[in-house]
Subunit: 369 residues, 2 copies
Amino acid sequence: MRKVGIAASGLTEFSKNDLPIDTLMLSAVKSLFDESQNLSQKDIDVVITSTNDNNKYLANIISELSGISPKSAHAIESLCNSGTSGIVSAYSYVASGLADSVLVIGAEKSNNPGLVLEWDKSRGQYTHPIYWSSMFTNAHMRKYGTTLEDIAYVSAKNHRNAINNPYAFFKKEFTIDEIMKSKPLTENLRLYDCSMPCDGAAAVLVSAENTIKKFTDSPVWISGIGQKSISAGFTKNEELTSMSSVIQSASSACQMAKKTISDIDVAELHDAFGICEIIELEDLGFAPKGKGSTYVKNLYDTDDKKINPRGGLIGSGHPLGATGIAQTIEIFQQLQGKANKRQVEGAKTGLVQNMSAAATSSTVLILES
Amino acid sequence: MRKVGIAASGLTEFSKNDLPIDTLMLSAVKSLFDESQNLSQKDIDVVITSTNDNNKYLANIISELSGISPKSAHAIESLCNSGTSGIVSAYSYVASGLADSVLVIGAEKSNNPGLVLEWDKSRGQYTHPIYWSSMFTNAHMRKYGTTLEDIAYVSAKNHRNAINNPYAFFKKEFTIDEIMKSKPLTENLRLYDCSMPCDGAAAVLVSAENTIKKFTDSPVWISGIGQKSISAGFTKNEELTSMSSVIQSASSACQMAKKTISDIDVAELHDAFGICEIIELEDLGFAPKGKGSTYVKNLYDTDDKKINPRGGLIGSGHPLGATGIAQTIEIFQQLQGKANKRQVEGAKTGLVQNMSAAATSSTVLILES
């Protein structure tokens, strides 16, 4: 099987604006083309969009507006996990030989219809994701003695990291006190524990070994892929202090890449809420079970940018369909040594973890320079 | 690269009903499991849905409701070409080794939001597909002398074929006179020249060579794939008597399969309107340019079921996201010799042609027993 890598990337600022979804996507595509001087529209065999937007035929529309006439153009949706689902699909097109290069474009509007999973009647009136995150928080506090102050460190760290991300929604440091005193949304969830749905787009070019050098001198290879869909409904989670989709997708990705978590130099984790990063650090094996918050506090105290250097979803904002792609772009730039003030020195191996709907499904990618 | 084939299929009746989209999808999945006695939920690595429906996370929802816990579950959309886009994506997952078996489920409601491409402002007030089909009809009549009676033969043939399709929307023969006197929708388009948007679902299991024999004694191999997206907007069509996406996708598919059109024993063509089948027959090379209608009339007069044996979209109905999958199932059954009264005797090589939005994009698959 031929190697598959990331050749180029493009981003828009994550903000709240009135730009339509196609304009956002086009901005990310333009940014990607600007980055890769040798890339021509003719090089692109497949265009995949990743979004929860209800507009139809968007992949074909963006292709036409970009001057691309691909073989296939189609949209992919899997709620918040759409972005990496698109990248994995691109990988399969390239690895199988159906395509040499696939352009994956994720974008979202802040008022998109993927924010609440209408189908999940098990949530009763508590349809908003703040409720499942509160239940995860309660369970972790009860079982491991995690405190609200512990959880605030996730937000403090990620907001501080986001200051060095020119595309981030927030570019402002928050103290632990400010986070703890921010608007209470539920009994144990405050506004600054949450990622912010926003408008934004992100694009990557996924290319085969034999063509990638045309587009970049420093490709980043996708060496590990793990995905797992446990369920769609929240009530199928076996317990609330662990995310089995994350554990299983990480195990598959590490096996494919022949790596362990100790090999990972830098990681983007899906911190939809503060508690998520803590549980993910434990489930991925960065920290022992119940010690995720200690791990986070240590990162904060030492200003270690290893986890969520671009600021995570909490600092960068969360345009659903763009998130997994923006996470992957951060690791791409880190492994290229082009992450500027966010750079984790000497990073050679990185990890992306992206998920949907109370961790009912997750993707883990391992990337290598 | 390992061979990839179709192992099993499932269909619902194409009708107008009040069933929700998930119920339709589940019915097709149940039908597929019933057909393949050895198939277990654990065999399925990836679940892909194909639909224009606005409900989110449907692939994960159907997975949960079916007792499947796949690696990846996601939805694919590319208007009327969604179904074969899903099958090609499934092929790439299997061929690349990311999956051994992929379940592809297409479904649509008759009032789905993919019926009109809102984005295409170039259509002015003439947003409904009947207008582009009228323009194709006018152009073909002007250039080649095709008559409205010629075009009525497409509908007469396909409705007659649909009588033997237990899942078809229409199961009634129409005379040329009835078709020509059916309700006029535009100057040169009558109601019975059109396919009927309806409710329905279709599912296929796409599997790798090394596992497919567990599920079927008579697999059908996907040997050729061609796809082309010319544009999204109608006005990018260079001319209206030909469909360049169809020509290019057929060329790629034949090249990959090392076949020519003369090798094709049976084909499913995307007859959204009568004129489409005539142009497709010409562009695919079944008939010389301008002689598509003569070819159709000959099929009708000799009761030859080679083209659209299940009744095409005109006879079977057109649930957008399910159509490309239902077309593929017909060729699967034909090459298995299990098409009952629709059987084309001795069919070994078949073709599927599926497309979107005034032929702005098209897929061609070549299947072999």
